[in-house]
């Protein structure tokens, strides 16, 4: 039995719902700032070695499937859209819309991870995983005639590219996995009627997280996949 000004979800140390919501979203944003800096270190390493070993980075980049990469980008953007729709549904207290949006977001997230797995598997098959199994063969004697053969020492540096590729996309995928796990919880709670009573902070803030993960990918995609593609002849 709570009136509008003091609903059950208003925690004891806040005065108004508005204050609580803004506080939560501000906190979330600050957390996202730490995420920017966390990925920032990796981007820094990437920029440095891309400058140093440009040829190796080009060669490494050319082994990635641009089709899969673009598809994944589109999938992730779509999932961002469905997440935004989820936030909207919660705002207008539409339970069905919320459930559908969250489910779709989960599905798209899983599709993204699935495609990522395929890409990772390809790298494994091609012996492009940095470490013991790495083979420079594809770079020293490229199958594609348009590829410039790399000297063996430069080809070795492609390992740096692949390490950064795995570190950056892996860190991103880890964020996706965490996100999807939380999405399942949110879906479960929404199924039981949560988030359509005006208390949308949790959904809002999770939305911020999900969009942030999307933004990271928006930068990873051109940096990793599109370094220097062969012009269409």
């Amino acid at each position: 039995m709570h009136d509008e000004a003091h609903p059950a979800y208003l925690r004891h140390h806040f005065v108004t719902v508005g204050q609580q919501r803004e506080t939560a979203s501000f906190g979330m944003w600050l957390f996202l700032l730490t995420e920017i800096m966390f990925f920032g270190g990796l981007f820094m390493a990437y920029l440095l070695y891309r400058n140093w070993y440009y040829d190796a980075f080009v060669a490494g980049s050319n082994t990635l499937s641009i089709g899969l990469g673009t598809t994944n980008t589109a999938v992730l953007i779509l999932s961002s859209f469905t997440m935004a729709m989820g936030v909207y549904s919660a705002e207008i207290r539409n339970r069905k819309g919320l459930l559908i949006s969250l489910s779709l977001t989960i599905c798209l997230g899983l599709v993204f991870l699935g495609i990522k797995t395929v890409e990772y598997h390809n790298k494994y098959v091609e012996h492009h995983i940095p470490g013991a199994d790495f083979s420079v063969e594809d770079f020293v004697h490229p199958a594609d005639k348009r590829d410039v053969p790399l000297a063996p020492d430069m080809a070795q540096h492609a390992q740096l590219y692949f390490f950064l590729y795995f570190a950056m996309t892996g860190m991103h995928a880890l964020h996706m996995i965490i996100g999807i796990s939380i999405l399942f919880i949110l879906l479960y709670q929404a199924w039981h009627g949560a988030y359509v009573n005006g208390h949308t902070s949790t959904i809002d803030n999770f939305g911020l997280y999900w969009h942030f993960v999307d933004i990271v990918w928006i930068f990873l995609f051109p940096l990793l996949y599109l370094i220097s593609r062969h012009p269409l002849k």
Partner: protein, 102 residues
């Protein structure tokens, strides 16, 4: 008590979201397409410019910063600013190392 900087809560509608979605998809297609055209130094610049544009769209609309208070905008700006400090100051070392023999 009311928080001194409390800001009007704005609900963004599906129309805006849909529009942004379309814009993002178009930009994705563009960035992939442009990558196949050899423009030398401009390739990474354009790719990053499109990336930034997409990120800004997501931040402004999906993440509602367009409808938020100035403090939030400043906060987001501060994050990216610090990131740029890290990148530029570190690269300033690496780039200027080639200027001299030391």
């Amino acid at each position: 008590m009311s928080a001194p900087t409390e800001h009007e809560h704005h609900v963004v509608g599906p129309k805006v979201y849909l529009l942004i979605l379309l814009a993002l998809l178009v930009l994705t297609a563009t960035t992939t397409g442009v990558a196949y055209i050899d423009m030398g130094i401009f390739n990474p610049i354009i790719a990053l410019a499109i990336g930034c544009l997409k990120a800004v769209l997501v931040i402004l609309f999906f993440m509602h910063i367009r409808y938020s208070s100035r403090v939030m905008m400043l906060t987001v700006g501060a994050g990216f600013f610090t990131f740029l400090v890290l990148i530029t100051m570190t690269l300033s070392d690496y780039i200027s190392r080639n200027w001299g023999l030391w």
